[in-house]
Symmetry: C2
Subunit: 229 residues, 2 copies
Amino acid sequence: MAEGPTSVWSRPERGARGPAPERSREQLTAAAIELADEGGLAAVSMRQVARRLGTGPASLYRYISARDDLLDLMADAVTGEIDLDAPMSGDPVEDLAALAGRAKEVHLRHPWLLDLPTEPTVGPRGMDYLEHALRALEPTSLPQASRLEIIGLVNGLVTLFARTELQRRNTPDGPGRARTSYLATATEERHPLIAAALAASPGTEASQDTHVLFERMVRRVLTGLVELP
Amino acid sequence: MAEGPTSVWSRPERGARGPAPERSREQLTAAAIELADEGGLAAVSMRQVARRLGTGPASLYRYISARDDLLDLMADAVTGEIDLDAPMSGDPVEDLAALAGRAKEVHLRHPWLLDLPTEPTVGPRGMDYLEHALRALEPTSLPQASRLEIIGLVNGLVTLFARTELQRRNTPDGPGRARTSYLATATEERHPLIAAALAASPGTEASQDTHVLFERMVRRVLTGLVELP
DNA sequence: TAATACTGAGAACAGTGATCGCAGTATTGA
DNA sequence: TCAATACTGCGATCACTGTTCTCAGTATTA
């Protein structure tokens, strides 16, 4: 009765009996990613994907068993955009930081990645990524158990900084930007420190280039974790 | 024509003319939080909230103008659960770390917080929280512009560690736990390092208590940011 | 008292993910 | 060679979602 919750990756793409499918998971994924790049995750509905492929919604369920499968496929596909062929220096901190930088670029290119519900299942490309990250950590003497956690932490920093960079990009800068948020109102009296922090126009010094902050942060966290027990 | 995108906080809860409303935003919020605590964010549908309040879905729109408003209200309400009355030591790192720890507890108590789409609008309780965090940073000589960013970073660490703690909690431990994920399969040959990392049973040393890792990480990041330029 | 501005809520709409069942087609085994 | 088998495509449809329309009822204001 109770079918085990199998991921897309463990189900075969097609059977061996019937007529050849007219489409492929890869095509579904590509169409979905296009839609998401253009209109966000909300634009990735079964009907929209189907329309873009010139078919009906029901047909998609021959390739995937739920919309979530599609999201997993999308995430894994763009993970494949991370270049893993760049040579490694041998310095774990340096190599992981570089990898994180490339991962962040992918997030900036596909902002919908941040809207995915709780980290998607890791697929083949995700496996390659993980293996690569572990290889960067190989020169260290870290206990096996904590290596995956460190990578998870770095990935978290990636999403964290990607998020702030994206919302900064979408915020029309200049000191006179429209502060529609509640932050603007009723600040002076009950929240003097917030008022002071907001008064300082953004774009000053340390606040300017979040990417260098990102690099610095990742290196700092990594050196701390890699060198100490 | 184009109504400015006003948040819930800037709209009055009720007009002054008609009959007194039979319910309040607070009641809607409480009902929604109950539903979310029980069945996740997906359980918070207009109909479910309405049913719990003994009314129809349409009536809810007298109190909020969209479901997103409800999510904002929920987030702000549970932000209010963070205790801001604990005395501060005067050490910025220590005080912010303590605050972060209390914020993490709230995330563990309300896991749906992690599923909220892109950080909700900051409401009154969020303002108090922010002000409190800024007060902790007051003894430092940090430029105004970067203070908010540091707090954002700490909040990011909170969600990051809350996420890993939650999914560890939901993973039945023991070495023989069912690895339904793709991680288990086809690992040995093409991904030897992943295999090695997985072979080491979790629950060893550094991997054990993520909370101490969290505390250490927050302190490390903060000391690095607070002391340096 | 009349005008006004509100509240409650049933009905309905467009859009969502997903399922069922059936016609058509390629592969298999006898 | 030829049924049996296992698949594909997909129209129709279901349950559910957020949201709006509309209108009767009610409290406040002038």
